[in-house]
């Protein structure tokens, strides 16, 4: 099998194994796995609106995991994308409802750029500086900053400065001039998809076709060699975490401006964590991130219809997803068992040889 073929086959095999195992668990607990899976698929891709929703659900994952992937590529683990996503959403929302008189072509970029900057500062500048200058481990700093961001978000909404007039802890709706148009009516799919695709292309080009990306990767693979080659390693650490935050922040703003239109306490359901899994699954490859995100989103949207049609709890989706990721990680399993089989076969034949002589 060629390497490219293998890269394609292994995740597929993992998905199939995961689905079979999930099916067995469902069957044991008294559900009908086949029906459930049909419902899952229908829920994800059964009609144009479902397809649109599946793609829409992938947008925040794409943007956030692109960010996480950049950090991974530099050898850094940005575990706090969730908070950067929040910060981006917060700033995007604030700009989105505060300047209703701006024309859309200024208002939208304004909100997006604001969100990106905020995410970048939150994820990059602070943990990056702490890492570069005092060696504070980025896993801790990004995680702590993330919790802080979410608490600030709640503070803003719960009787705080961003709460809309009235009773509910939610921000005002962003003005139409800061709303990303919906592409397919009755669905969540907004023009945000173009931003996500553009981000994939940009990240791909930056990483693999610019000197900046080359240096990022060098620092990631071998900081010593980077240093000896005259690269400013601490600076690239900051860049990397910063970009990571920029993309997560963008993700948050795009979600608000395209789907939610206002900030609420529960607007994110842990995209920042799911995105870690997505980028790992995609081996930090920007293009693979697209497919991995769609896959995750399909599981999530499909699981809703699966619930309705076959009563399977959505927690089952998490179980199946966990199993799938497990088998992606254990890609050597297949060759391991093949090897084992061969070895035992060989051992048996050898033994035969001995007994014959």
């Amino acid at each position: 099998m060629s390497k490219r073929m293998q890269n394609l086959m292994l995740p597929l095999l993992a998905v199939i194994t995961g689905l079979i195992l999930g099916g067995i668990i469902m069957w044991i607990s008294g559900y009908k796995p086949i029906n459930a899976y049909i419902a899952l698929f229908q829920g994800a891709f059964g009609n144009p609106v479902f397809i649109a929703n599946t793609i829409a659900g992938a947008i925040p994952l794409i943007l956030t995991s692109l960010g996480i992937a950049i950090a991974f590529r530099t050898g850094l683990f940005n575990i706090g994308a969730e908070g950067q996503y929040w910060i981006g959403a917060m700033v995007g929302t604030w700009i989105g409802y505060n300047f209703p008189h701006l024309p859309w072509y200024i208002h939208i970029p304004f909100a997006l750029i604001g969100a990106m900057l905020a995410g970048g500062i939150w994820g990059g500048l602070i943990p990056g500086l702490a890492k570069a200058f005092v060696g504070a481990h980025e896993v801790i700093t990004t995680m702590m900053m993330s919790y802080i961001a979410i608490l600030i978000g709640h503070f803003m909404l719960e009787r705080g400065p961003m709460m809309a007039p009235g009773y509910n802890p939610q921000s005002p709706l962003v003005s139409p001039t800061a709303t990303l148009p919906t592409l397919i009516s009755n669905s969540n799919l907004s023009a945000g998809i173009f931003i996500a695709i553009a981000a994939i292309i940009v990240v791909y080009l930056v990483l693999f076709h610019t000197t900046f990306g080359y240096r990022l990767r060098t620092v990631g693979y071998n900081p010593m060699a980077a240093k000896y080659a005259g690269m400013n390693v601490p600076l690239f650490t900051i860049y990397s975490l910063g970009l990571s935050g920029v993309l997560a922040g963008l993700g948050g703003a795009v979600q608000i401006m395209g789907v939610d239109h206002q900030l609420t306490d529960t607007f994110s359901s842990g995209y920042g964590y799911t995105a870690i899994v997505v980028s790992l699954l995609a081996r930090n490859n920007p293009i693979a991130i697209f497919f991995a995100s769609v896959f995750f989103s399909a599981l999530s949207t499909g699981s809703q219809v699966m619930q309705i049609n076959s009563g399977v709890s959505p927690n089952m989706t998490d179980v199946i997803t966990g199993v799938i990721i497990f088998f992606v990680a254990t890609d050597k399993l297949y060759s391991y068992f093949r090897g084992r089989f061969r070895r035992t076969a060989k051992a048996q034949s050898e033994q035969k040889g001995v007994s014959l002589s």
Partner: protein, 506 residues
């Protein structure tokens, strides 16, 4: 009867036949050398003897009894002690912990005091003094090797195998090692000694086995072997052993170091008031026992380390405050000591590694965009010029052998046409063929009127290549002498800190 006998041993890794029909016999009390090019299969053989690899075919016999080592523990119990080519020490642990690890000798509790005592006793018996409480990461390589030897003997080794032990040693340390080997031989402990260095082998060994391309091609008593013959057996072709050096046409000063003092990471002053010049067209060699400040000196010159005092002038310009990349652009090339750690990005392709220090320059990039075509074209040219094998620009650096990795680094640095090339241990661990190539490249630089600062622990190499030689000891440049007048003895003396009369500070 032979203590250890190897019969038709074979080991295959995927498509690489690392060992095939290897035969060897080791007699009591002898030192048996194994000679062979890089990749000849020496280390693989040792790993099978020590239980790390399982042979695919063939037999290992100890005192006539066939052995089937399932793991290194079996081999240790059978009395085989190995000092691996890449030291198997744990830097974060102390010497004593490293020595007793795995055979602590107590039931459950780790008894630190006992371990320290045992280490002291063995090192005293061997005449290899060691501080057992110090962490291995704080030891120079020569000392680390002592730890390895003590470690093997602590486990009651009845056969000692040394895989390329002298590659990291100074002449003095090598002599000390040889003394230990002779003492072991007297105690009837045979030693297998692996090396590329013909003269050393001829000095210490009783018999020599030559390996080539995974096979043992010949075994002979040392008296019967000439250097030329051995080299020919190793490589399978005729080798020019002496590099012919024409006297330098020296010109202007390229690098001038004035009163340099440098501290190490632990704030110890490691370079003290060092001054010297390097001129166009010459190779300035720096000799010295490892750990006498050479590393810190070089790191200061390339900009990786702050100065405690002094000045560095490059082409008459004060570059003391300049960044690493600034110095690179001014024309300083650098071949670091540890090629994998500092010199290469192993997952990158050869082509990408070749632009590591010039990625921001034309023609490799244009306004921030990588120019893959130019990169590739230049890579292909360099691969041909430096004979990098396999000749694939897209091969990952990690898949290259050590010698070829070194060629990549040298090609990269030379392709920048530096005014000054600083090369630290450029031929460490390489075979004769590869060394020959690298030496040729260094000399050609001088012929083009560039300057070379060569730091090496190999006296032969320094003496062969340099025009002038500086010797460092305890952070000081104790002498600078004309290479023509330098002898092993005078250099060796200077390396111990003796000031040599003739040495005139520049």
């Amino acid at each position: 009867m032979a203590i250890l006998e190897i019969r038709n041993l074979r080991k295959v890794f995927g498509s690489v036949i690392a060992n095939d029909e290897v035969n060897l016999s080791l007699e009591a009390g002898e030192t048996h050398a194994i000679l062979g090019e890089n990749g000849a299969g020496k280390s693989t053989l040792i790993k099978m003897i020590s239980g790390l690899y399982k042979p695919d075919a063939g037999q290992i016999l100890l005192n006539g009894v066939e052995q089937h080592f399932a793991n290194p523990r079996d081999a240790i119990l059978a009395g085989i002690g190995v000092v691996h080519q890449h030291f198997m020490l744990i830097p974060a642990l102390s010497v004593a912990e490293n020595v007793v690890l795995g055979s602590e000798g107590s039931r459950f509790l780790f008894r630190k005091k006992d371990a320290i005592e045992k280490v002291l006793r063995i090192s005293k018996e061997l005449g290899l003094p060691l501080d057992p409480a110090i962490k291995v990461q704080d030891l120079p390589v020569g000392m680390q090797q002592r730890v390895e030897i003590v470690k093997a003997l602590y486990r009651n080794a009845r056969i000692l195998i040394l895989d390329e032990p002298t590659a990291v040693l100074t002449p003095q340390e090598t002599e000390e090692l040889f003394a230990v080997v002779r003492r072991l031989n007297q105690d009837q402990i045979p030693v297998i000694f692996i090396s590329h260095k013909l003269d050393e082998v001829r000095e210490i060994a009783d018999r020599i086995t030559v390996m080539r391309a995974g096979k043992s091609v010949n075994t002979m008593p040392v008296a019967d072997a000439t250097a030329k013959e051995l080299a020919q057996l190793m490589v399978g072709r005729e080798v020019v052993l002496e590099t012919i050096k024409t006297p330098a046409q020296t010109g202007n000063v390229v690098l001038s170091v004035e009163g340099l003092s440098v501290r190490d990471d632990r704030k110890m002053t490691r370079v003290k008031n060092v001054s010297f010049d390097v001129r166009t067209g010459e190779i300035f060699g720096i000799a010295g026992v490892d750990g006498n400040g050479q590393t810190e000196l070089v790191e200061a010159i390339v900009g990786l380390r702050k100065l405690e005092g002094g000045k560095i002038l490059f082409l008459d310009k004060d570059i003391t405050a300049e960044s690493v990349s600034g110095r690179i652009h001014r024309g300083i090339g650098y071949v670091p000591q540890d090629r994998q750690r500092d010199g290469l990005v192993l997952p990158f392709t050869v082509a990408d590694n070749l632009i590591l220090r010039s990625v921001g320059n034309q023609p490799f990039s244009k306004s921030g965009w990588l120019q893959k075509k130019s990169t590739r074209a230049s890579a292909e040219k360099l691969i041909k010029e430096f004979d990098i094998r396999p000749p694939l620009a897209d091969a990952q650096a990690v898949s290259l052998s050590g010698g070829n990795q070194q060629k990549v680094i040298l090609a990269r640095e030379m392709s920048r046409e530096p005014q000054l090339l600083i090369a630290v241990q450029p031929t460490r661990g390489l075979d004769v063929g590869a060394i020959e190539g690298i030496h040729r490249h260094l000399l050609s630089l001088c012929e083009q009127g560039k300057a070379v600062l060569l730091v090496s622990l190999e006296l032969e190499e320094i003496m062969q290549l340099s025009d002038r030689i500086g010797v460092m000891h305890a952070g000081e440049l104790v002498t600078v002498m004309d290479a023509k007048k330098a002898t092993r003895e005078t250099l060796g003396l200077a390396m111990t800190g003796e000031r040599v009369e003739e040495g005139v500070a520049p």
